[in-house]
Symmetry: C2
Subunit: 194 residues, 2 copies
């Protein structure tokens, strides 16, 4: 049985069993523990990560030394700092596991090699990048349109299961709320969901 990574690629492009094996030869499966780091700010980002199981978050540290989470990904999503990947620009972000996770790490050079050997992967990655880009355009709209409380309600209605998995203090960091205020908002939710 093939891992989620292969099933996911096959949703978008054809991939024979032989080609799937080639992908798996180049992508490295990492078993990581909660809080293990995959990228540290200041390093050049050298790989993109596909979440087989568990979850990752991406964050920066502001000038007061406070972590600000900007991205969460769970199963079947890719994560990388795409401005740093494949360049010599040090990343402004950190990536770490917020749960124990199984992650395929695809090194930038391995990705380039795979795309040369299996040109359909250019299409797969183009579609992944386009999806991520579009989601970020829309997210910028939400950030301009909503205050943090409205953003929480939007996020809760759209990703109810996801919200249960994320520790409260991390969700607060992502939404730009204090953990105390988020806790108040969630208490108000309770009667509606019980």
């Amino acid at each position: 049985m093939y891992p989620n990574l292969i099933t996911h690629i096959r949703k978008f492009v054809d991939l024979s069993d032989e080609q799937a094996d080639l992908v798996l030869e180049h992508a490295k499966l990492l078993q990581i523990k909660k809080n293990d780091m995959l990228l540290r700010g200041g390093q050049v980002c050298r790989a993109s990560y596909f979440v087989e199981k568990g979850g990752l978050c991406m964050y920066f540290i502001n000038d007061k030394g406070v972590e600000k989470i900007t991205h969460f990904v769970i199963e079947n999503w890719w994560l990388s700092d795409y401005l740093s990947l494949g360049s010599n620009n040090p990343s402004a972000f950190n990536i770490r596991a917020f749960e124990n996770a199984e992650v395929y790490s695809l090194d930038f050079h391995a990705q380039e090699l795979l795309c040369r050997k299996l040109p359909q992967l250019e299409r797969y990655f183009r579609l992944m990048m386009q999806r991520g880009y579009g989601a970020h355009q829309f997210r910028i709209k939400l950030m301009r349109e909503f205050n943090s409380e409205q953003y929480y309600h939007h996020f809760r209605d759209l990703y109810p299961t996801f919200i249960q998995r994320i520790p409260q203090y991390m969700l607060a960091s992502f939404l730009g709320l204090t953990p105390e205020y988020l806790s108040e908002l969630r208490k108000k939710d309770a009667p509606r969901t019980s």
Copy 2:
């Protein structure tokens, strides 16, 4: 002499003259006037736009009927609503010219056809999407990190020429400032640049 569109593609992938002609057969050159619309909110976005000359902006209209500009592009940039493009999802955005412009409009189906005929275009568009995605990840960091005044200073330092081209009320809308407050900030800039 080939247009900027072809020169731009050739920076990233090989394209023979014959192949360049094929691209130009499928991309439609539009001559548009300042304030002409290319996309209206509620419509499905059916094309992506490459700016040959001039500039485009993308914006949404909030619940008070106020335009909020989220994106500007000038020469050699692509713009589309990538969440709506190729889907049946109506766009949450509008796109219009903020200057008289020459724009290549590449219909979604024409892009699919071109990518089948010229597989190197999958790579070109993958790299364009990756660049846009990375820039948006970084922009979300800036939006979390900076207030509107700091964001203005960052934007001014990074894109000094660009800022001269954008009408002040549009720049204010993009930065989330009132035009009056932006005008105050720009007055403070003046002694440093004279």
